[in-house]
């Protein structure tokens, strides 16, 4: 079955290539763009591919949520056009692959409005989430227990947060909620809570805290001052050309036209 699909894809791509000869270069040529990789990038890639397919309805952009590592391997083996990784490429991967940052994931730390804490260091956040610090007074707050709000296992935001604060699998959550909205709602209703959420989904019902003295904002995330952030990377092969459709989608995703969709998906666009 897979073979048939890949043959069909190849045939249609070739056909498109010839058909596209006469057409202007900016319009894309149809076919399929296979993306594979990070589950955290689901929203970003979803928004981008939808926006792209709206304008180029001959092209189908597929997305296979397998994880950053598998996405990178898939590009290397050629089983997808564009790999998606929610981390930068390792040096050994970068020898034959190109990583292009399409968006930045900024994770904001939020507390209840009644909480006097304004700033935490990464170490303090890690200590809180590991359960080493259980009272807000130890980090400059009131004498109250700390309630840790997180996301369900393997949520993209949780994965990002835990990998940046180095607390993978050791967080002592009090609540594991299934959506960002739930996190914001819970933090806004309980003065003891601390939670994390994508910067774009933080509302003014909760208090945003600065990390190591830097308040998260589009600027501080773009210039790298704000620490709890990671890159969303599109991975391509160095020595092979993308198919016309894939190249066209890649160009769209890395152009400023993609910014509004990246913002809509809750991420921060790259500074151009």
């Amino acid at each position: 079955m897979k073979k048939i699909i890949s043959i069909l894809t190849a045939v249609s791509l070739v056909a498109c290539f010839f058909m596209g000869c006469g057409a202007s270069k900016s319009t894309s040529n149809g076919g399929t763009v296979a993306t594979d990789g990070s589950t955290s990038m689901e929203k970003v890639i979803g928004y981008l591919s939808e926006a792209y397919m709206e304008e180029n309805n001959a092209v189908k952009v597929t997305y296979n949520p397998t994880g950053s590592g598998s996405g990178i391997k898939a590009v290397q083996s050629g089983s997808c056009d564009i790999g998606l990784a929610s981390r930068d490429l390792k040096p050994e991967e970068a020898t034959d692959l190109n990583g292009t940052v399409v968006a930045i994931d900024g994770i904001a730390m939020i507390v209840n409005k009644e909480n006097p804490v304004k700033d935490l260091s990464i170490e303090q956040i890690a200590a809180l989430y590991k359960g080493e610090v259980t009272n807000w007074s130890e980090v400059g707050g009131a004498d109250a227990p700390v309630v840790l709000i997180g996301r369900e296992a393997a949520s993209g935001t949780r994965d990002g947060f835990e990998s940046i604060t180095d607390t993978e699998d050791v967080c002592k959550y009090n609540q594991e909620l299934t959506s960002t909205g739930d996190v914001v709602q819970t933090v806004s209703s309980n003065p003891n809570t601390i939670g994390y959420a994508s910067l774009a989904s933080v509302k003014d019902t909760v208090k945003l805290i600065s990390v190591e003295g830097v308040t998260p904002s589009t600027e501080t995330i773009q210039n790298g001052e704000y620490k709890i952030q990671r890159n969303f990377v599109m991975v391509t092969k160095k020595n092979a050309k993308l198919s016309p459709a894939a190249q066209s989608f890649f160009d769209f995703a890395t152009s400023s036209a993609a910014d509004e969709w990246i913002i809509a998906a809750g991420a921060v666009p790259v500074k151009r």
Binding site: P65, A153, A154, S155, Y173, E176, T178, N192
Partner: protein, 291 residues
């Protein structure tokens, strides 16, 4: 004459066929779901081991070294259901007695209208109300750091099982022959004595059915408890954040893969077996009633 008869016979046969097909369709669905759950639920149990799966106390499906023990979920579901039954059944039965015996028809109409409305509210709405009202209330009342725990879930479940407990018990109480009551009253018993010593025992099997229905409803509930229970795979405690069997499946299904996904099917199988046992219990009660 014979022509009309012939066409009516044909119609009769055709309809008969359709009824039979519809009847068997339901059986087919049941068999399909059962078969699917057994087939997709068994591999993970085999791989993890039945004892480790059912009695393991840690669930860490996405950790570096994953472990798949669902005892916390099983106990949470049982505790949550027991709690809801302990609080909800007395309230439900007393409400049913009020509706059937104590109040005037006008008031009865209003109250049973409200009960019907309660049963029609989608569970996500119960969850939302629980999350915004009950969770903070529990936190403040018991002076806890956090209100999302087993107790909040029990309260939400209690409210959710009330409609089925009330309506089934009410029907059972109403169907007790009036003569029983009249005889009791004629012997000089008060109304309360009559209700508790004559009517309620006579409606016993119906009331038990309502309890079993309540158990079924609360053990199968996922959405509402997911929003108020905190959803962490702890061993259950009254004021601890807990995860139910149903929520374990619901919260991880969307991104699971490999053994984790198979283990979720196994959890579904466990729920299914629980519900089956409850249904068998229900049928036993119903049969007793017939005799």
């Amino acid at each position: 004459m014979s022509k009309i008869k012939k066409s009516s016979v044909m119609l009769e046969n055709a309809m008969n066929c359709i009824f039979t097909v519809c009847g068997f369709l339901t059986i087919a669905f049941v068999l399909l779901i059962t078969g699917f759950l057994v087939v997709s639920g068994l591999p993970a149990i085999k791989e993890i081991g039945l004892i480790d799966f059912l009695f393991g106390t840690t669930w860490a499906s996405t950790a570096q070294t994953p472990s798949y023990g669902i005892l916390p979920f099983i106990l949470t579901s049982i505790y949550g259901t027991c709690g809801a039954i302990i609080i909800g059944v007395p309230i439900g039965i007393l409400c049913a007695i009020f509706l059937a015996k104590m109040s005037n028809p006008k008031l009865s109409g209003i109250v049973s209208g409200a009960v019907d409305l309660l049963s029609g509210i989608p569970s996500v709405v119960y969850g939302l109300v629980g999350m915004i009202i009950i969770v903070p209330l529990v936190r403040e009342t018991f002076n806890l750091p956090d209100g999302a725990n087993l107790f909040s879930a029990i309260i939400v479940l209690t409210v959710m099982i009330l409609p089925s407990v009330i309506s089934v018990s009410e029907t059972a109480i109403r169907s007790v022959p009036k003569e029983y009551e009249e005889a009791s009253l004629a012997l000089g018993a008060t109304k309360t004595e009559t209700v508790f010593n004559v009517v309620a025992p006579a409606a016993k099997s119906g009331i038990l059915t309502s309890v079993v229905l309540g158990i079924g409803r609360s053990i199968g509930e996922a959405m509402a408890v997911m929003m108020v229970s905190g959803n962490v795979a702890n061993m259950p405690g009254m004021f601890k954040s807990v995860r139910f069997l149903t929520t374990a499946v619901a919260s991880e299904m969307s991104y699971s893969s490999g053994l984790q996904r198979e283990a979720l099917f196994s959890i579904a199988l466990v729920i299914f077996i629980f519900i089956m046992l409850i249904n068998i219990g229900l049928n036993l009660f119903a049969k007793k009633k017939e005799r």
